[in-house]
């Protein structure tokens, strides 16, 4: 059910809504960071975070509080040889994702306050917010918020008078999607090429500069003050999926072929149909829906004709057995259950009449460009998928090429250091499998590139 909230977005669109004055007036100021540092122990902070059931907002959906609890229990003093670090992932760049940017631009203080609470919870004294370089306004707003917080004594050697130093720094990327992968981000912060690292060791053991590190998405961190303000459990209960450990409120984006693309804050659990029709005003030109990309281009596409198969009454998806996947509440586990991923919660809507093969070609161009090149299956496989897509569009492919595409994508899966390989292969496989007739029509010469459209209406 659609439940609009404004815990994170109350100051959006207001004059100077990003400033400290607005944050204090509308969003509780830094009361929760103050409360955490001055009245709670580190363990209590992690417990509260666990109760909030904040599933990581970057795409993987790992429970935030649990991740915090992986950090070593001893809290090193500032300046010691093995400090802990918080790294906040604001390298937003997954095609179809446009939510973190709004938080940095419109509510940067929630990000900074979240950093203070998280640092205390994981025993860190330094947080690096990794922002992609292109987001100059986001960086300026974050820097402004950090300066305001420092001037007030909320950051520095003794925040809120507590002898627990916290500093927050903005670290700028330089144009590489792969740096959104957590270990690649750590290399990038260390001043290296953004190439992912083998895991283990996991960042909680050896992260930034070889020290224990927690990497959280920016929206995840920005939700922390709200969760602490109402209490973790109350926050979690706002969600329609509280009972399966997917709590709270989050930002949802809708883009592509809809009348009103937007970013909105909702309690966890709206459906695709609600997002498309009630939030985004329906499909452009009142067309039907070809498919949606659930949450960033790496998540496999879903068609409205797909139904839920969950005959087992114990399955969390059983209440929707036999119904359209477009009527299932969007959650980390519900989307996994229907064969896709929730990802970043920003839905790309693709209208009927759009050419799925051209969509594939466009996406493979992205993955080809952004592969870091470290692992052969990803570097070469992505390039192959792009070349075969182009061959198909040019009408020069055979049926064997379609099977070859399948094999290449399958060959990438599970054979790379990081999940970028799956991120390339999963959408390719889903588009190929779900739109096989359209691919075959190109091979038979019944579809032509000249007629292929990606837009519903001509751009004007």
């Amino acid at each position: 059910m659609l439940k609009r909230t404004n815990y994170l977005t109350k100051t959006y669109g207001k004059p100077e809504g990003w400033g400290l004055a607005a944050y204090e007036c509308d969003l509780g100021g830094y009361a929760q960071a103050r409360r955490a540092l001055t009245t709670m122990t580190r363990e209590q902070v992690v417990d509260e975070a666990k109760k909030a059931n904040i599933r990581g907002r970057g795409g993987a959906g790992f429970p935030m509080g649990v991740k915090w609890s992986f950090m070593p229990k001893a809290t090193p003093a500032p300046g010691t040889a093995k400090p802990h670090y918080l790294v906040v992932n604001a390298d937003e760049g997954e095609p179809g994702t446009h939510k973190d940017r709004t938080l940095m631009e419109e509510n940067p203080h929630a990000c900074v306050e979240g950093c203070i609470i998280a640092c205390y919870g994981i025993g860190a004294h330094i947080a690096y917010i990794y922002v992609r370089d292109e987001l100059h306004l986001s960086k300026a707003r974050l820097e402004g918020a950090i300066q305001e917080a420092r001037a007030k004594g909320y950051l520095g050697k003794t925040p809120f008078g507590k002898d627990y130093a916290v500093e927050v720094h903005v670290h700028s990327g330089a144009g590489a999607y792969i740096c959104g992968e957590e270990t690649s981000m750590l290399n990038s912060i260390e001043g290296r090429r953004g190439e992912p690292r083998m895991k283990p060791p996991f960042p909680a053991n050896a992260g930034a500069f070889g020290c224990p590190t927690t990497v959280n998405n920016l929206e995840t961190i920005a939700a922390v003050p709200t969760a602490f303000g109402m209490g973790g459990e109350e926050f979690s209960k706002l969600s329609a999926l509280h009972h399966i450990g997917d709590g709270g409120v989050r930002l949802y984006g809708v883009n592509g072929h809809v009348k009103k693309p937007c970013v909105v804050e909702l309690a966890v659990g709206p459906t695709f149909n609600e997002l498309i029709h009630d939030v985004a005003g329906g499909v452009t030109g009142d067309k039907g829906i070809l498919c949606v990309i659930p949450g960033g281009s790496s998540t496999p596409v879903m068609k409205p004709s797909e139904t839920v198969h969950a005959p087992d009454p114990k399955s969390p998806l059983h209440p929707w057995h036999g119904k359209s996947v477009f009527d299932v509440p969007l959650g980390v586990d519900t989307m996994r259950g229907v064969g896709t991923m929730l990802g970043t919660c920003c839905v790309t809507v693709i209208a009927e009449g759009t050419d799925p093969v051209s969509c594939m070609q466009n996406l493979m161009q992205f993955y080809r460009h952004e592969s870091c090149g470290q692992c052969t299956p990803c570097r070469e496989g992505g390039a192959w998928l792009l070349r075969v897509s182009e061959k198909i569009l040019e009408g020069k492919a055979s049926m064997k090429d379609l099977d070859g595409m399948h094999d290449i994508a399958n060959g990438i899966m599970g054979n790379t250091i990081c999940a970028f390989g799956e991120g390339t292969a999963m959408p390719a496989l889903a588009i190929l499998q779900k739109f096989r007739p359209e691919f075959e029509a190109y091979v038979r010469g019944e579809r032509k590139r000249a007629d292929a459209r990606l837009t519903v209406e001509p751009w004007s």
Binding site: P83, G93, E94, P95, G96, T97, H98, D100, R101, I126, Y128, R132, D133, E134, L135, H136, L137, E167, H171, S172, G173, A174, G175, A176, S188, I189, E190, G191, R192, R193, G194, E195, F209, G253, V254, N255, G256, H257, P261, C262, V263, I293, S297, C346, T348, I350, T354, N362, L363, Q365, F366, H369, E370, C372, L454, T455, V456, P458, W459, S460
Partner: protein
């Protein structure tokens, strides 16, 4: 000529170095400062970075060539990046690119003869909800119409 940072950027570098436990960590921010000053990262600037941060020239070169946003050659006075990735393409990005190419008489990746504008495509710029869009230098221009693109390009051409 050997590369040197302006005094203001030199001060900024000192601030940056204090944020990290290693000098190497300042590689990306320092390269940004160099590019900010020269418009691209010259061989001399790379040598300067290696020397200031006590890292090898190979390390610096490896970083510069890895990241898309470091220019390895001089570029136009203004940078125009049109997002081409799917959510923008669904709302007309290909047409925006074609229009820019025609208006400027160059292809993506090229610079106008007067050296004013370098036109490039970008991969997703996190502006999918306000597509199609382009980045001009440091600013985003969103929900682009043909008229708006013309206004932007006219302004850049006259600058």
């Amino acid at each position: 000529m050997p590369f040197a940072l302006s005094p203001e950027r030199e001060r900024k570098l000192q601030e940056i170095l204090e944020r990290y436990p290693t000098k190497m960590a300042a590689t990306l921010p320092l390269l940004h400062l160099c590019q900010d000053q020269e418009g691209y990262v010259s061989e001399e600037a790379m040598g300067f970075v290696a020397q200031r941060l006590d890292v090898s020239a190979a390390h610096v070169k490896g970083v510069v060539t890895f990241y898309t946003l470091y220019n390895q050659h001089p570029v136009g006075k203004h940078q125009v990046w049109v997002c081409r990735t799917l959510p923008c393409a669904l709302r007309g990005a290909y047409e925006v690119i074609e229009h820019c190419e025609k208006r400027l008489g160059i292809k993506c990746g090229e610079t106008t003869a007067d050296g004013k504008i370098t036109l490039r495509t970008a991969e997703c710029l996190a502006s999918c909800g306000t597509a199609p869009m382009m980045q001009v230098d440091r600013d985003y221009h969103e929900n682009l119409t043909r008229e708006r693109v013309d206004q932007i390009l006219t302004r850049l051409q006259g600058s």
